[in-house]
């Protein structure tokens, strides 16, 4: 069948005379979650892609650029179906977006089999950083456990001896726990992974109180964070035990924390590869233009990753002289990653995951707007631990 398709392709191209102009365009298919409560991240990412589009002047390698957005509804089978549609119907040249590992796990093979270049703008599926790495697979964000490994290091630096770990009982949640346990040198005095259906931590919070740790490591993204941090304060733990979170306090949900007046979040620490006040010209322009585009908000790291994803693709197309079909040249250009990243500099390992710094960030209240501010660099040039398993 595949052979037939390859043979049929030139034939179809000849027959399809009116689409000459369309073929000149460079099409990028973007799969995000734009429905369900999880759309809080997806909508920021969509806006960031649009900012990147504006910064590129709507062009890539001198050709007109078209972005096609699709919604995965937070379901792997829908994500896959949309990816098939983008590949087969819209005939996109690149695929990017993909917030969730399960959606990526279902969708990436479709794109890779069709010979497309795939850029994950969030999902840090660890298999793709190691055993399953692929020449056409790029990740412009991170591998799942990297950030929590940085957090473990930061906890050592801050002298935390006894740590309580709280996370969600699903794949990413477990990878976060594995990451922090890999680098944290003190004692783990307790650990609870709650099912995703839970929104009441009464039992776990009582255990935390009984264990009396010097710090609590938390992975509760999205609406779990909102509920958990509220209960943390109600139990009086905010006064005794500092919170250290990963992927739970970010630019997408800080405005919500502020709206709900959760003042105890100010001063808490988390780690990330990027912050809105990271000092470089590209970042300043991005943060300013994002606020103009999206409700005056300060972008989150999700938005930053989305911006870099499109810029990464643009760098590849530019290196190939605007010929997006020349996958080898595009890939080579992307590997060199010679573009203005919001991270300042960006470089990729042979598994096509970024090798990057991680920073300690603190929540501050600046000019009446809560935001994340860089405190120090925790680790430099960090690569995913499974990079050696990649046989590229």
């Amino acid at each position: 069948m595949l052979k037939k398709l390859i043979l049929a392709a030139p034939l179809a191209a000849m027959l399809a005379v009116p689409s000459v102009e369309a073929a000149e365009k460079i099409k990028v298919g973007i799969v995000l979650t734009l429905t369900t409560p999880a759309s809080i991240m997806g909508k920021q990412m969509k806006a960031a892609y649009e900012v990147a589009y504006d910064h590129l002047g709507g062009k890539m390698g001198g050709k007109e650029l078209e972005l096609i957005f699709e919604d995965d509804g937070l379901k792997p089978n829908i994500g896959k179906q949309k990816t098939e549609k983008l590949v087969k119907k819209d005939k996109v040249d690149f695929l990017t977006g993909y917030i969730w590992s399960h959606v990526l796990g279902a969708s990436a093979p479709v794109a890779l089999k069709a010979g497309k270049i795939f850029v994950s703008a969030n999902a840090g599926h660890s298999l793709y950083a190691g055993k399953k790495c692929h020449k056409n697979f790029f990740n412009a964000a991170w591998e799942n456990s990297q950030n929590s490994m940085a957090m473990g290091t930061m906890l050592n630096q801050r002298g935390v001896k006894n740590l309580y770990i709280l996370s969600l009982n699903y794949a990413a949640g477990k990878q976060m726990v594995a990451g922090v346990e890999r680098t944290f040198k003190g004692n783990v005095v307790g650990k609870d992974l709650v099912p995703t259906s839970h929104k009441d931590w009464s039992a776990e919070i009582a255990k935390v109180k009984a264990a009396k740790p010097d710090g609590v490591f938390v992975f509760y993204p999205g609406s779990w964070g909102l509920a958990f941090f509220t209960q943390y304060k109600q139990a009086g733990l905010d006064k005794t035990t500092p919170l250290y979170s990963v992927f739970s306090v970010d630019g997408a949900n800080l405005p919500v924390y502020q709206k709900r007046k959760m003042k105890h979040m100010i001063g808490t620490f988390n780690t990330m590869f990027w912050a809105p006040d990271l000092d470089n010209a590209v970042n300043k322009r991005f943060v300013a233009d994002f606020a103009k585009k999206y409700k005056g908000q300060i972008p989150s790291h999700y938005a930053a990753q989305a911006y870099d994803s499109l810029m990464l693709i643009a760098a590849g197309v530019k290196a190939a002289g605007g010929d997006a079909k020349n996958t080898d040249a595009v890939r080579k250009g992307m590997e060199e990653a010679d573009f203005g990243s919001v991270r300042g500099k960006i470089k990729f390992g042979k598994n096509h995951f970024p090798i990057q710094n991680f920073y300690a960030r603190q929540v501050i209240n600046k000019n009446g707007q809560w935001q994340l501010s860089v405190r120090q660099t925790v680790v430099e040039d960090h690569a995913p631990v499974m990079s050696n398993e990649c046989k590229l």
């Binding site: 409560p37 009982n169 992974l193 709650v194 839970h198 039992a203 009984a210 909102l226 209960q231 109600q234």
Partner: protein, 307 residues
């Protein structure tokens, strides 16, 4: 064994049980009396959470906002009953499941559009944010005490209503023998509307009082709905007493499982295996409980007479 922790977890389990009871009580009455499988009962819970959040924000008063929210929930519930659910009474269970599944999809989407993906929430006033220390060093958040107290009060009122009043007598009669109530010349339509309204307010009340703790987001009704189904099936459909006992039992077992199962498993297996099995088993415990009870008593613990 840490007895303070044990006592605190007992308290937490009881509080979860109270919330489950408030949702399950309405569900079991609506099932028992109208023979209506209402999947959208979780939606009524969500109504309570969102309406109260908005009213508390508007009035800037927790008490006032919550009191004002009650009639709004009642109105919303009755509107739903008048417009759609009423036509479902004489339909079979399958039609009811499907139509109310449609209601869930609709309202989840609607609330997502109106309140945004981040949902909404209620901030507690300073006088409720502290903790209380009980004898024995047991500390509990003040607001959780409020939940227990108000939940028990509502349960008591419900008990009085059902067992001491004429309406309650009809409700009890309806739950065990529907035809008989009709034969007595009672306006059955009115009774049904009344029961549905009561159920809507109970579920809404539960959603409202839990919101300061869990916050409100679209889709919050479904996880509680499934738990509430487990509760009424264990308790016996149509039985308020059964719902109460099953709710407290479920709340306690769930909380105790989350608290102690990992420690217990460490006694019999290595750390890695226990860490995998612990959360898995604790999230399945109540379903296992339900399977065991139904395998022994297929109509639940307290099946109403005649059912």
């Amino acid at each position: 064994m840490n007895y303070t922790l044990l006592a605190e977890q007992f308290f937490n389990g009881f509080q979860l049980g109270i919330i489950l009871f408030l949702v399950a009580a309405g569900l079991t009455l609506i099932f028992g009396i109208m023979d209506l499988v209402n999947l959208a009962h979780g939606t009524l819970y969500m109504f309570g959470a969102f309406f109260a959040s908005t009213l508390v924000a508007v009035t800037d008063s927790l008490v006032l906002g919550m009191i004002l929210a009650l009639p709004v929930m009642l109105a919303a519930g009755l509107l739903l009953e008048f417009s759609i659910l009423r036509t479902l009474y004489e339909r079979n269970h399958l039609d009811q499941v499907l139509a109310t599944f449609g209601l869930i999809l609709f309202f989840n989407e609607l609330f997502l559009i109106v309140w945004g993906p981040e949902g909404t929430g209620i901030n507690l006033p300073p006088y409720l944010t502290g903790t209380i220390t009980l004898p024995g060093g047991i500390t509990v958040p003040e607001y959780r005490m409020v939940i227990i107290a108000s939940g028990l009060l509502v349960a008591l009122l419900l008990y009085v209503l059902v067992s001491k009043t004429r309406v309650g007598m009809l409700i009890r009669a309806g739950a065990s023998n529907r035809e008989m109530v009709g034969a007595l010349g009672i306006n059955i339509k009115l009774l049904f509307t009344l029961v549905f309204g009561l159920g809507a307010v109970l579920a809404g009340f539960a959603g409202m009082i839990i919101t300061p703790i869990t916050q409100a987001d679209s889709g919050m009704g479904e996880s509680i709905l499934i738990l509430a189904f487990v509760v009424i099936v264990i308790g016996g459909i149509g039985s308020i007493k059964g719902a109460f006992i099953a709710a407290i039992l479920t709340g306690l077992i769930d909380t105790m499982g989350r608290s102690f199962i990992d420690v217990a498993l460490l006694q019999i297996m290595d750390t890695v295996a226990a860490e995998t099995a612990g959360p898995a088993i604790s999230s399945m415990m109540i379903y296992i409980l339900m399977a065991i009870i139904l395998a022994i008593k297929p109509s639940g613990l307290f099946p109403p007479k005649g059912a």
